[in-house]
Amino acid sequence: MDAASVLGAPVGARLPTMVSERLAKKFSRNLKERAIEAALFFAAFVSVLTTVGIVYVLVKESVLFFTHVPLWQFLTDTQWTPLFDDAHFGIMVLLSGTITSSVVALLVAVPLGTTIAIYLSEFATPRAREFAKPILELLAGVPTIVYGYFALLFVTPILQTLIPSLPGFNLLSAGIVMGIMIVPLVASISEDAMRAVPMSLREGSFAMGATRLQTAVNVVVPAATSGIAAAYILGISRAVGETMILAVAAGMQPNLTFNPLEPAATITAFIVQVALGDLPHGSVGYQTIFAAGLTLFLLTLVFNLIGLWMRKRFREVY
């Protein structure tokens, strides 16, 4: 780029000489800069609009829903039959499925994810790490519907040979597969937390004659506790919001149970079930999914905020 075109005039053109001409040029140039900045700001502001849109839609339909169903009944009823004539709206029924499947998922993801994180952060050579991390990323990138297929048609039959009474739809198989799906998330956030622990702490431990494992367990993990806890909490949030694995492999029958061997619907699976049917816009059934969605949104929001707060914290320790 030559000097003339940088100044805003085409090459070979007469440069503006009059003061008024220059000011006009500067004014139009400033105007263009301002307009571009405004456009860029608008693009960034879309994220705020999205949040506002989500809250608006969920709250608006939920308010209509709660004019039909008292909040107390929503929280305490032990039946969930929104589409029957004798309609009951007890969110606990769906919540029990969500909680049970998430607990199963965490029982898989926490030990596996933490072990992988300790291994990658404290034991693995850089080359092994370079090899393992992309594989974990690929695992995290598999579409959840594919995991659902895997849970229903591969894991469940295997589990049925171990537990013959296991029904075709169950929370156990969905939970296990969901756990494997969130292993990469838990592993990568925990590993970040452990790698943020300063080398001097490890060196101090090694100098006292501790082995790598002793250092990892007694020094690195305690120092990275808040980051590891954040990884678990963000993992819970992922599990609670997961939809397709549960819709496919856990069945869509509302069932107030904490037994992973039974089929049960979760909040997310219920929304899918209703969306697959043909509910008229404005009916109570239509509003139900927004009330369920609001519950889900608040639940994951709380977990995400705690997780992010903890993740920020561990960065500030050293």
Binding site: V6, L7, R29, K32, E33, L40, F41, A43, A44, F45, V46, S47, T50, T51, G53, I54, Y56, V57, L58, P111, L112, T115, I116, I118, L120, F123, A124, P134, I135, E137, L139, G141, V142, P143, I145, V146, Y147, G148, Y149, F150, L153, I180, P184, R212, Q214, A216, L234, V240, G241, T243, M244, A247, I271, A275, I289, F290, L296, F297, L301, L308
Partner: protein, 309 residues
């Protein structure tokens, strides 16, 4: 402290024990990693075996059918392509612009903080909630219908945080002297941004866009929520027409289905013949996301190797 080892033999024993535990943990760590890898391989191979018989050219050129043997994914892959096109057309400009704004323009004030908090939170919102947003807002309030455009917009909002974060990280790695150099020869902020910042951060942005798109391609829940049909035996109107102006945007308003929904539909049927179709569709889906993620990882690897400021 109850008992402290005294004799050299005891101490040697303790050291050997501690070292053994180290080795045992390494084995456990590799097994844990192996479970992850093994799951992935099992999943892929299992689906490939189940769906192999269906992975024939006709599978791509036939509409879904009530007979499993004749069903194909024509409407599904065309739908996926169209939706992805809309998603990219919306998410890439918006995401890159937002990333540029936050890194290059944003003043330090509460509005910027608000935007940043929002982006972090949106990244953690379950995808089905985006589906509800789209159902309430795009489908009913804006009247966009249960169409390609609604699905594309929904997925665009969903992957926006991914694109923004990738753009910001790419821009952040450009040293300040590049900007100072541009300003020193009289460039304005926008000239600096468009001639230097964006071109240099392009590989990083591209990586983020690919990862975002690979996520969008596999998303099922939000698209089911907006009410996509599961059985579509026709294609959306062609974007190219014979009459002037030769381009038509009617396809934006067409009903559609996408690959993951087609797979969901086939998986949830009790008839086992359809499960082979689901496996075949799943294999293609995994292959697509795998290829996209692989490309992104390779790009990032090359990027790290080549650029030294």
């Amino acid at each position: 402290m109850s008992y402290v080892a005294q004799t050299p033999e005891e101490i040697r024993g303790l050291i050997a024990k501690a070292k053994r535990r180290d080795v045992i943990f390494v084995v456990i760590g590799i097994i844990a990693l192996g479970i992850g890898l093994l799951t992935f391989v099992t999943l892929f191979v299992d689906m490939l075996i189940d769906g192999w018989a269906r992975l024939r050219p006709e599978f791509f050129t036939q509409f879904p059918s009530r007979r499993a043997g004749q069903a194909g994914i024509l409407s599904a892959w065309v739908g996926t392509m169209l939706v992805m096109f809309v998603t990219a057309a919306v998410a890439v400009p918006l995401g890159v612009a937002a990333g540029v704004y936050l890194e290059e323009y944003a003043p330090k004030n509460w509005v910027t903080d608000l935007i940043e908090i929002n982006i972090t939170n949106l990244a953690g919102v379950p995808s089905i909630v985006y589906g509800l947003l789209a159902l309430g807002l795009f489908v009913y309030a804006f009247g966009l219908g249960q169409s390609v455009q609604t699905a594309g917009l929904t997925l665009a909002l969903l992957i926006l945080p991914v694109v923004i974060v990738a753009t910001r990280e790419a821009i952040r790695s450009i040293p300040g002297m590049i900007r100072e150099g541009a300003y020193a020869v009289g460039a304005t902020k926008w000239q600096t941004t468009k001639d230097h910042i964006i071109p240099y951060s392009l590989p990083g942005i591209l990586t983020g866009v690919i990862i975002g798109m690979s996520r969008a391609i596999g998303e099922t829940a939000p698209i089911i929520t907006i009410g996509a049909l599961t059985f579509i035996a026709f294609l959306p109107p062609s974007p190219v027409t014979t009459d002037f102006p030769f381009l038509s945007f009617e396809w934006l308003k067409a009903p559609f289905t996408v690959m993951p929904i087609q797979m969901f539909n086939w998986t949830s049927r009790p008839d086992e013949a359809f499960h082979a179709n689901a496996a075949a569709a799943g294999t293609i889906l995994v292959f697509m996301t795998l290829a996209m993620n692989g490309l992104a990882i390779w790009l990032r690897y090359r990027l790290r190797k080549n650029i030294k400021w």
